[in-house]
């Protein structure tokens, strides 16, 4: 759902207004730089004064993010950013709250908070930088690392079955779910904008290259030669078509699964799967989230965007309703409630 964000009659903000005075300490050529740059592009377009933003993070490379945007920011502890952000939003629902997290932070140590923030639909944006590796601790496998991944802690290859972040989010009743990739600047900007305008928990997974410990993990989705065959862009109301010459499509097959088909011949565009991010039922979004490279092209874009009352809104409503019903809290009355008696 899109909301009317407050308009401010002051000078429009620019990207540079959101740059903090801190030296950015990510490794050279880290994918995080691009995400930061796109975020700084999106923020001034939202019509929200700088002081109304609050960035919250956990621990990990991505979680240094708040230091680099000149808004209110809280660099928290490992995995707890959604819980910290919940506290921020409860105390002040007027703030626009962004959670910056990584695959280890959100899905391993912080898995519980991730699930519960999403199912409550607290009005916050959760941006997960997925690089399929622990970078800050120097190269252990993460909950999104593929089976067989060799890392510092898996010299013989990982035997942990990985999680698909989008499937987890959809399973946790997410109202907004999207995916983009660090180097696809335009697409990432669009996705971040959409997330910013969603009312409720907006979850965005960004494929992010850790060029030091997991270089090229997503090259299939970023390199010119492979990209068009290994990703498919989601557009509302449009069929899922991909390939260098847009010659392939995705079709729903019997047995609640999807299949890749060649367009032309008997198969027309109308036979393909048409994307519906507004579908009230999450099955389609879930089905799309199961499409993983190399068996399928991986969908990019907004998987799901539906309306549901936010948690913070409900909390505020209950407070208002209690005040309407019981009146403003009366200290005198409260102290004297229950059975009382006098001693002379």
């Amino acid at each position: 759902m899109s909301v009317d964000l407050p308009t401010v009659p002051v000078q429009p903000l620019q990207s540079k207004d959101f740059a903090s005075d801190q030296e950015v300490r990510w490794c050279p050529r880290c994918g995080d730089y691009s995400i930061l740059a796109q975020m700084k592009k999106v923020l001034p377009t939202l019509g929200i004064p700088k002081e109304k933003f609050c960035f919250v993070s956990g621990i990990g490379c991505s979680s240094r993010f708040p230091y680099y945007v000149n808004t209110y920011g809280l660099h928290g502890i490992h995995g707890r950013a959604p819980a910290i952000a919940t506290g921020v939003k409860l105390a002040n629902p007027e703030l626009q709250v962004w959670v910056i997290t990584g695959d280890g932070d959100a899905l391993s140590i912080g898995g519980n908070h991730f699930l519960h923030a999403i199912r409550r639909n607290i009005d916050m944006k959760i941006i997960l930088f997925n690089n399929q590796i622990y970078g800050l601790t120097k190269g252990q496998y993460s909950p999104t690392s593929p089976l067989g991944q060799k890392s510092k802690s898996t010299p013989y290859g990982s035997v942990d079955h990985p999680l698909t972040p989008l499937s987890v989010a959809i399973g946790a009743e997410a109202t907004f779910v999207a995916r983009s990739v660090d180097v696809d600047i335009k697409h990432l900007t669009m996705v971040l904008e959409r997330a910013a305008h969603h009312k409720g928990t907006a979850f965005v997974e960004v494929y992010q290259d850790c060029n030091v410990f997991n270089n090229g993990a997503f090259s299939y989705a970023t390199e010119k030669e492979t990209r068009s065959d290994s990703i498919v862009y989601l557009e509302q109301g449009k069929p899922l078509i991909f390939g260098k010459n847009r010659e392939k499509g995705v079709r729903v097959a019997e047995g609640n699964r999807v299949e890749i088909v060649q367009l032309g011949g008997d198969i027309k565009e109308d036979d393909l799967l048409f994307h519906d991010e507004k579908a009230p039922e999450p099955s389609l979004a879930f089905l799309l989230s199961r499409m993983r490279y190399p068996e399928f092209p991986e969908p990019m874009g907004v998987f799901r965007d539906v309306d549901r009352t936010t948690y913070d809104e409900s909390v505020t409503r209950q407070v208002d309703a209690a005040r309407a019903k019981l009146g403003e809290g009366d200290v005198e009355k409260l102290l004297n409630s229950g059975d009382t008696w006098f001693v002379n």
């Binding site: 903090s20 801190q22 004064p49 700088k50 002081e51 109304k52 609050c54 960035f55 919250v56 993070s57 708040p66 230091y67 000149n70 808004t71 209110y72 920011g73 809280l74 660099h75 928290g76 502890i77 707890r80 819980a83 910290i84 952000a85 919940t86 506290g87 921020v88 939003k89 409860l90 105390a91 002040n92 007027e94 703030l95 519980n112 908070h113 699930l115 519960h116 909390v315 209950q318 407070v319 209690a322 005040r323 019903k325 019981l326 009146g327 403003e328 809290g329 200290v331 005198e332 409260l334 102290l335 004297n336 409630s337 229950g338 059975d339 009382t340 008696w341 006098f342 001693v343 002379n344």
Partner: protein
Amino acid sequence: MSTATLDAPASTNGKKLENLETVVIRFCGDSGDGMQSVGTQMTNASAIFGNDVRTFPDFPAEIRAPAGSLFGVSGYQLCFSNHDIFTPGDAVDTLVAMNPAALKTNIEDLKRGGTLIVNEEEFNKSGLQKALYDANPLDNETLMAKFRVHKVPMTRLNRDAVEGLGLSLKGADMCRNFFALGLVYWLYDRDPKPTEDFIRAKFAKKPDVVEANLRSLRAGMNYGFSTESFTVHYHVPPAKLPAGKYRKITGNEAVAMGLAVMAKLSGKTVVFSGYPITPASDILHDLSAFKHFGVKTFQAEDEIAAMAACVGSAFAGELAVTASSGPGICLKGEAMGLGMMTELPMVIIDVQRGGPSTGLPTKTEQSDLLLAMYGRNGESPLPIIAASGPGDCFSTIQEAFRIATEFMCPVIFLSDGYIANGAEPWRIPKVEELPRLNVEHITAANGQNGEYLPYKRNEKLARPWAKPGTKGLEHRIGGLEKKDVTGNIDYSPKNHQHMTNTRAAKIANIASFIPEQKVDGPASGKVLVVSWGGTFGAVRTAVQKAQAAGKSVAHAHVKYMNPLPRNLGTILKSYEKVLVPELNCGQLRLLLRNQYLVDAQGYNKIEGKPFLVNELINVINEFHG
């Protein structure tokens, strides 16, 4: 029923009414027998009548343990008196045992010559087996000769009383607790009206249940009045408490009310984030009904989230608070450290219970003091304040917030299961007498170049509290070591030493902004007894009795656990010997010995139960020599 005449004991039905000063009653039965309910009712009736009252609810961790089992026994002890008292009493004057298991687990606490009321019908083969009795203890003449025994066929009498209301046998038996209560009401000359009002309100939607419980209560009273078994009943005149209007209050209620009142009077929002845990959950329950006072409650997914949310709410500029017990506090440790490092105000309530690990969830203990002192990584001192009783929680929780906001730090508030569930009469304060929390948020940049310096400290070493949403004060903070003044990340050796020292000095300096330690008794002498937290009542009573017996003994009850009051060292050195009774293995004693090099001795009990006054008197006498 007529109200009792206060001065002239009346006689009715040929039965004498005798005056007593203090009475201790314990109701015990299965955890499903409604013992907590009737105990609470008798407490209310006694408090409303004007007695001073203290209670000790003692229940199993299992919600419905197998019926009749020894570990499923639930008890509620109350003491009411015609003078001010500090404890729920040691030995029991009247024991009501609803089944053999209750008798077996409680009979040791009944005074020789005390009154024993049993539901004799439960002393059947099955009941005796479940309580692991080889023979019926009611037939044990040696045992029974020690007490005034009333074997009452409670089940049958109660079923007769509610006959005709269409209740099932099970439904009828559900009212048995009120029959027992009625009998005790007659025995102690209590006005049943508050209880009748309670029954009418509680079951308002079920008229037959109202009628049944009222009949049961009345039948119990009538039984005492009519049967020849009871020849005398007792009257405890009202106590001469300080004048004023009173209500009954438990520790957890007082915490919740203290927070709601603080929210309202300070115009701030209290954001409570918690996770259900015994014995702290009632704070969450009570607060969730106080939304119209400016209270928001958040039942988080776990203890860690609750603490993390507190840090978030504090950063956002509101009054953040969480409540838990030992196991939850362990989980909160890391986020408490974040609160400490970011120097944000918040209060962490630890309602201590028996530990370690899951321990004894429904029993009391004082064994989290060192956890509160040291239970975080790194050098991370936090102020700690401990309530001494149920009513004291009301002002102490507000004092915790005064310290938190004045010094910009998390504060740990220690309560315990005994304080949390125990009730006492509480003199209702006047609204105009209540303290106002004075919270200041910085509104303009404090740097020379128009920048905001989040770690620029005031004379108390407290940093400013900027509320997100305030223009020009955008800033970033976190758990990494930061440079003083600017708050930027700084790992340099000298800075870390400086910041560590500064954080410690800030907390230590709070000693100059709290009251000096008071002593009850002579300013110097032979023995000083030092206590803290929920043992206040038992220790104060024991010391006063020892003083009355001519012993040179004084009592210092410490409320400010960290930093300790600035005059405490001098006080400790003014006595020949120092005794520290604690419901742990000597945690305050360790701190005192460490800080003051004083040869403090301990008296330590870890039974999940409060101190008895008599055991402390014996210890004091022995220690005094």
